[in-house]
Symmetry: C2
Subunit: 203 residues, 2 copies
Amino acid sequence: MNICSYSFEEYFSLIKSFHGSTAPGIIIGGGMVDIALREMPENTLYDVLCETSACLPDAVQLLTPCTIGNGWLKIVNLGRFALTVYEKYQGRGIRAFLDAKKVKRWPEIESWYLRLKPKKEQDFKLLLAQIREAGTTICSLQEVTVSPQFRAKPKQNKAVTICPGCGEAFPAQTERFCEACRGHSPYLSFDFTNETTRQTAFS
Amino acid sequence: MNICSYSFEEYFSLIKSFHGSTAPGIIIGGGMVDIALREMPENTLYDVLCETSACLPDAVQLLTPCTIGNGWLKIVNLGRFALTVYEKYQGRGIRAFLDAKKVKRWPEIESWYLRLKPKKEQDFKLLLAQIREAGTTICSLQEVTVSPQFRAKPKQNKAVTICPGCGEAFPAQTERFCEACRGHSPYLSFDFTNETTRQTAFS
């Protein structure tokens, strides 16, 4: 069985170069993307929702046109190992999840999924072999409708203002200062360095 | 000038295949990743923080080992067009941002950045030519320290429980039911379909 348009080996090396390691979650996630997409009517314009930020989003970004940066992939962090491919405008879609009942047949997968033993005690080779043999038989599908407030929003052309605090542009409603300057900066300290020497044209 | 290890043309086609379109933000973002990385001491183990979910995260995911799925890329949505590459454990890093003052020299870039005209009135060809000529001269850098609470967290091996509502595993502290079953499901309705026929081994 292929994972979308890739063979298992191709997907495996794709994971390595993008995700850094061949994490079990992204291998299983690839199968979940594949079986969910197969159930969608052809030529559907779809978005994807991931119920965890761990691993699964990378499977989606590698196998579909949906990425975090283009807004077609959204993460709603519920901690469940599940993803939903859904029709962009009405929200009807297919949810694929790792099925705890089906996983029981594969002790090493179950142990990884339910964190029954510390990572260093896992038999990674056996885990990988079981994942490969199990394929998508450990997953289940559901028909769902994604609630409007959880669907990917079309890009809004909100007005942009220059913040008098930092001098940078931000999407303003009525606020004068940007969120960072209103006390939500993620930084401890600022030391402005004017590094213009490094900056050049692209070509 | 290259964008990390790619020529401008290579990066351009990489964007197209991953992000779907050659959005201005991801081209400029590529230059921001490049100049921020150049200022980091060699062999630093780094994570990345993006201050917007639009476009920039995809530049980071294409050019660095940091992705949403492996947890080394974090989005703190402040709506500012900025990213920070920082040393993983102490948080010291380099913030690159699109500089409103420097952008003034490039009317089409300024118009795009400050949303001075509707998208359909933008001259995309001219915008692209200006982005290419301006390169990273429209960006500025700052030395920052990312606050501990905003740094990417090392993966915690939280205990996992089966939710009696949905039957799926979730990371539990003291809760009996998962967040979705406690009223935060992103779905309107559930129709369980048992689609086992499609599921096969990977090979």
